[in-house]
């Protein structure tokens, strides 16, 4: 089990090694490799000592989502002993990213879980409970995902060596064939065949990729389902689709804590919207407004004037005070913005609803604008290899400072001291009693009995693999954010993020599209209309591309998955009846940024340790003084072997940088660091 974690740790290191920023970064990577050895040693030495975990921790954290991981890192950083568990066999919970095959396994798991009723055995741990102690059992079933549907439109045919090439002039949509994934279910051994996502990432990194230099002009070639599976390792499909506001809480935290060095980022190249069925660019920066061909000069002035006002709207209260109780939309009308501009500001810049009040709308606009220019002309960043990297980066920092990690390892119940009504220990799935002074847990582990209410909001999600970008432009390696205003005014606005292959989330020649909105029905009901408006979805198996030029210009959907995810972000401590030292972390929310989760993590941390700083910068490895108490001294025997292994890995990648797609050098140019 622990060997597996070894591999996980090294993945981010390898990724950094593969991208050549120059000598500096290499040096830095080398140090972080060396630095990580400390944590490996801790884990290993403990493994040698006993199969059991230590019986005492300051903080036990259950769930490896973003909020939990940040809390883990923050606690560990200031010297708390942290045990971090997750019942799943992958990191990041509902924040995870999967390879295509990993996602298929995840779907299998979901289907099986729907069928199997798990009976829980309480007897094992009953004996561990003493007098004066009470027990709060935890849920062993994750019910946060629902309404999962999968459709495949890619051809199931075997890939032939000599393919008849489509004429160059037309981009032919794939020979479609509807395949229902449900039929392939019923596999009892699903639990065992689940691909460890991190493991397959590892493979991807170490195995030479068959055609890294293939130009993405392969559109003419049909992409079959077999091809998607074969190249599945190239995908990193997020369950949650979010971007990072470049001045948001997450980026600030990544910089402040130095965790940013474990990851790489890419700019969002296009901010788009969809009006009357046409995808077009949203002018949001000064340069965009200047270059925009859709706006008249007067509109340009009005928009710039409004945006400039929003930047420091607090200074001019007289401008909006009459509207504080009225919707933002009305304020925009009052500002004499044309319909066009109102839509841009409301849906694409502020990203708020028709009902949002003026002040909130202004704040949202301001936030967006302040993020411009920090890392290029758009306000967003996306982590290469998917959003699931971010929780893992924080877990890594936690481990660097001594945190202990166990996956596929959960807590059955909490042991509560009756007198103080505080948790004093937890009993893990192996029946070991581990005492702790604080317990942090993800919402999905809480049973309904502990909740005040079981009515939740839901997020509707769709994940699409397509063959082309929705906005053809000179550069096809751009990440785009598309906001789609609601078709009817009551419906929620849909947010779409289109990822290109250079974001390391999909195979060359394909695009990975995430759709998100707050649910009013099932995900399919909410999002299928948008999908059919923006994409070509073949209805009849083997359908020939229709003659209409309009259909041809739309990208074709190869594969699609719909699901609903529970949105618990509105809940707070009053929503649960739990002891006071149990801190519940809500899952991902429906918004574009992650500010909500980071703020929650910070508040939980301050609750646990009121006097400590939240994630102070990690010291430079050169400045750390190793003395007798240092972690290095604990396992001198291991030190050497691990060291050489890590160095060999690094060296191997130095020699063989071509394992990464060629475009990496040019696109991965953004790494958050302290203010540029």
């Amino acid at each position: 089990m622990f060997l597996l974690y070894f591999k996980t740790w090294r993945i981010p290191v390898l990724k950094i090694c593969c991208v050549h920023f120059g000598y500096c970064v290499f040096k830095c990577v080398y140090f972080s490799v060396r630095h990580d050895i400390a944590c490996h040693v801790t884990v290993c030495s403990f493994k040698m000592a006993a199969e059991d975990l230590p019986s005492q921790f300051d903080v036990v954290i259950l769930g490896t989502g973003l909020t939990e991981s940040v809390i883990a890192a923050a606690c560990s950083r200031v010297g708390q002993s942290v045990l971090h568990l997750d019942r799943r066999n992958y990191y990041a919970g509902n924040w995870a990213s999967f390879t295509f095959n990993g996602l298929l396994s995840w779907i299998e798991e979901y289907k099986n879980q729907q069928k199997v009723q798990i009976t829980e055995s309480e007897q094992v741990w009953r004996s561990l409970i003493d007098e004066g102690e009470d027990v709060v059992p935890l849920s062993s079933v994750d019910s946060s995902i629902s309404n999962l549907e999968v459709f495949c439109y890619a051809s199931e045919e075997e890939e032939k060596e000599e393919e008849t090439k489509a004429p160059l002039t037309s981009c032919q949509p794939v020979n479609a064939e509807t395949v229902s994934e449900e039929t392939t279910g019923d596999s009892t051994e699903a639990q065992d065949t689940v691909t460890e996502p991190s493991q397959s990432q590892e493979e991807k990194d170490s195995q030479p990729i068959s055609s890294p230099a293939d130009p993405p002009v392969e559109v003419e070639k049909k992409i079959t389902y077999q091809k998607l599976v074969k190249e599945g390792r190239r995908f990193n499909i997020d369950l949650v689709s979010k971007l990072m506001y470049s001045r948001g809480a997450l980026v600030d935290l990544l910089i402040k804590s130095n965790v940013s060095r474990y990851a790489e980022f890419k700019n969002i190249g296009h901010i788009l919207t969809c009006r009357n069925g046409k995808v077009e660019q949203v002018p949001c920066s000064r340069a965009d407004v200047f270059a925009s061909k859709q706006l008249t000069v007067v509109e340009k002035r009005m928009l710039m004037k409004f945006l400039t006002f929003c930047l420091d709207f607090e200074q001019h209260p007289e401008e909006y005070q009459d509207y504080t109780e009225k919707p933002f939309r009305e304020f925009l009308k009052n500002k004499k913005l044309t319909e066009n501009l109102q839509d841009f500001v409301l849906h694409s810049i502020a990203m708020v609803t028709q009902q949002t009040l003026t002040e909130e709308g202004l704040k949202a606009t301001q936030h967006f604008l302040r993020c411009l220019g920090r890392y290029g002309n758009t306000p967003f960043l996306f982590p290469l290899y998917g959003l699931g990297e971010i929780p893992q980066c924080f877990c890594r920092m936690c481990a660097v400072f001594g945190g202990i990690y166990c996956l596929r390892h959960s807590v059955q119940c909490l042991v509560v001291d009756k007198a103080s009504n505080k948790v004093k220990a937890v009993i893990d799935t192996r029946g070991q009693k581990i005492s702790c002074s604080h317990f942090v847990v993800e919402d999905s582990y809480i049973r309904d009995e502990q909740r005040q209410s079981t009515a939740y909001r839901q997020i509707s999600r769709a994940v699409l693999i397509t063959d082309r970008s929705v906005l053809p432009s000179e550069s096809d390696q751009q990440i785009s954010l598309v906001t789609i205003p609601p078709l009817e005014s009551s419906a929620p606005a849909v947010r779409m993020v289109e990822l290109c292959s250079s974001s390391m989330t999909c195979m060359p020649g394909t695009y990975l599209v995430h759709l998100t909105c707050s649910s009013s029905g099932t995900a399919q009901e909410d999002l299928a209309p948008v999908v059919s408006e923006l994409f070509h979805v073949s209805t009849i198996p083997g359908e020939e591309p229709s003659e209409g030029a309009e259909e041809r210009s739309k990208p074709a959907v190869l594969w699609v998955m719909y699901f609903n995810m529970r949105d618990t972000s509105a809940l707070d401590s009053s929503s649960y009846s739990l002891p006071s030292n149990v801190h519940v972390c809500t899952g991902p929310d429906g918004s574009l940024g992650s500010d909500c989760s980071i703020k929650l993590a910070e508040s939980v941390f301050h609750h646990i340790l009121p006097d400590e700083e939240f994630c102070p910068p990690a010291p430079n490895p050169e400045d750390i003084i190793y003395d007798g108490d240092g972690p290095q001294a604990e396992g001198p025997g291991f030190d050497e072997s691990v060291n050489t292994e890590a160095e060999e890995e690094g060296a191997a990648h130095e020699k063989n940088p071509s394992t990464e797609p060629a475009e990496m050098d040019s696109v991965a140019d953004t790494t958050p660091s302290s203010e540029e």
């Binding site: 200031v78 010297g79 708390q80 002993s81 000064r286 340069a287 407004v289 200047f290 270059a291 000069v297 007067v298 340009k300 002035r301 009005m302 710039m304 004037k305 002309n377 400072f401 001594g402 010291p619 400045d623 750390i624 003084i625 003395d627």
Partner: protein, 552 residues
């Protein structure tokens, strides 16, 4: 607390850094001394290259070392094959690139780079162009790089179209960039020259392209009206006729003027109106004694300006005391200088766009100023009221430059009054209570006999005031006049009123007391004015007036 990572204190780090710096300095100084010794010993070898390389990579602004390097390279070049020379200089280019990373604005580096490219047997200009583009993407205003890029473009023969696209790209990414706008202004006339065969107009741009450029400028200043680069470009587009006149003015010296009286060339001495004026549009001479002695005779006067092969004639008829020949200021559109070239329909359309912007941004100074200039180009008298109102707003929104606006406003008011005066064909010039702060175009007032400048904010009567040679009555009450330099030798001045001023030196008063025994019996004034634009160089100088003054 237990379990925390121990970190070195900042004092410790500081100390370490200080030691590090000291060590570096020591190494640098000793290497520098070694190199300078080698140079004075006349050694030109590989070792010298290496040593200078070490020094320059830490301090690329050490010009002496670059010079030494050039000496060494020239020496090495002589003893090598062509391939080796190519290699030698290519490695030099790599080295310079590294130095540019240290200081992208190092004069030495950029100069050395141009030099190396001239020495390279096969220079790779595409690579150099790429380097410039990379450099400019990091700092789009690095003028060293812009300069170098011009050289590269010239050498590599990049087409003008491509260069125009290059400026499109730069302006698109950030339009607050003079460099790219200016580069554009040099490219456009090359790429889209005006079809007219007139060679003088070769720097103009064809109409079709101009309309596109206007649109581009509109986009920029509607997006951000406070950004001046687009406004300057816009003014260049509108007023691109401005040219050579300043040069002509400086040439307007007395050399080359010849007076012919009744067909007889006369030997006369030309002088300007004021001893402090060396260059002047007005020149005087005394006619030789006796040449116009008989007032009953009719005289023909001709002034030739030999340099420009131009002349003006004038006849002094029997019984007349004075006579003149002048080109009208109105005919020549003398004062529409700045934006005069464009067709008025285009100017009208542009004025509309600017007014549209002004409605949205009533406080924008660039917009106000451009509107004023456009109005003057279109119809200075018709727009006078609006112009004055705009000036008022300008002074309020931009108090830092209120004096500039006042002077400009004074200039426009004087121009307008001159025009009105010419239309009315009078010799009385009244500009009282107009908040004038400065006097200009005084050469145009040569014939004025009465001038009223009361209740303004004038600080002085400048030396040019002496050009008002016909002035008889001067009223300048209620000003803030301190100096009366300009009241020099005004031969016909009879009345001066300077109540309520701040005159400093009584000494100057001697200038304006008319000397009744003034020696000259006949004088001639020639007014040589640089005519507005390139429109007609031939007609650009005029002979304003020849006058026969009968003194008592």
């Amino acid at each position: 607390m237990h379990g925390r990572v121990k970190v070195k204190s900042t004092a410790q780090q500081e100390e370490e850094k200080r030691k590090e710096r000291e060590k570096k300095l020591k190494a640098f100084v000793s290497a520098r001394d070694a190199v300078l010794r080698k140079r004075s010993a006349g050694e030109h070898d590989e070792e010298a290259l290496q040593l200078t390389q070490q020094l320059l990579s830490s301090n690329p602004d050490f010009a002496t070392l670059w010079n030494y390097r050039r000496e060494v390279l020239l020496q090495l070049e002589t003893s090598r094959e062509k391939d080796e020379v190519q290699k030698l200089y290519e490695s030099e280019l790599h080295f310079i690139e590294a130095c540019l990373k240290v200081n992208p604005k190092s004069y030495g580096c950029w100069h050395h780079r141009s030099w190396v490219n001239t020495r390279l047997p096969q220079p790779d200009w595409t690579r150099e162009l790429g380097l410039c583009d990379r450099c400019l993407s990091l700092d789009e205003r690095n003028f060293h790089c812009w300069d170098y890029r011009r050289v590269v473009v010239k050498e590599s023969g990049v087409s003008v179209e491509q260069e125009l696209q290059f400026t499109d790209r730069l302006i698109g990414s950030n339009f607050s960039n003079y460099s790219s706008w200016h580069y554009r202004s040099t490219l456009l006339p090359q790429l889209h020259p005006q079809p007219a065969p007139d060679s003088i107009h070769s720097h103009r741009v064809c109409e079709e392209q101009l309309l596109k450029e206007y649109e581009l400028a509109h986009n920029a200043f509607f997006t951000d009206p406070n950004d001046q680069s687009a406004w300057f470009y816009y003014r260049w587009l509108l007023g691109r006729g401005v040219c050579v006149c300043s040069l002509c003015l400086s040439q307007a010296q007395s050399e080359g003027l010849m007076l012919v009286l009744d067909g007889q060339p006369q030997q006369v001495e030309w002088r300007s109106t004021h001893p402090r004026l060396r260059h002047s549009p007005v020149w005087l001479c005394d006619l030789p004694p006796g040449s116009v002695s008989d007032i009953s005779n009719e005289h023909n006067l001709t002034v030739h300006w030999t340099e420009k092969y131009t002349h003006r004639d004038c006849a002094l008829y029997t019984g007349c005391a004075e006579s003149w020949c002048r080109d009208s200021a109105t005919d020549q559109e003398l004062f529409r200088s700045e934006l005069s070239v464009e067709k008025s329909s285009v100017l009208q359309a542009e004025l509309q766009s600017c007014n549209q912007l002004l409605e949205l941004e009533p406080q924008n100074k660039w917009c106000l100023l451009t509107i004023i200039l456009l109005m003057r180009a279109l119809d200075p008298l018709g727009h006078e009221k609006e112009t004055l109102a705009h000036f008022q707003t300008l002074k309020e929104v931009d108090p830092m430059r209120s004096s500039y606006y006042s002077d400009l406003c004074s200039k426009f008011l004087i121009e307008n009054t001159i025009l009105k005066m010419e239309y009315a064909e009078v010799r009385v010039f009244s500009l009282s209570n107009k908040n004038l702060t400065t006097l200009c175009h005084l050469d145009q007032l040569l014939l004025v006999t009465h001038i009223n400048l009361s209740s303004n904010q004038l600080l002085r009567l400048p030396p040019q005031f002496a050009m008002l040679q016909c002035l008889e009555v001067l009223e300048a009450d209620d000003n803030a006049i301190e100096s009366l330099e300009g009241l020099y030798h005004l031969p016909k001045l009879e009345e001066v009123s300077l109540r309520n001023n701040r005159i400093l030196f009584a000494i100057q008063s001697k200038c304006f007391i008319r000397n009744p025994f003034s020696a000259f019996r006949a004088s001639a004034w020639f007014d040589l004015v640089s005519r507005s634009q390139y429109s007609s160089l031939i007609n650009s100088y005029r002979l304003c007036r020849i006058m026969e003054g009968q003194q008592i």
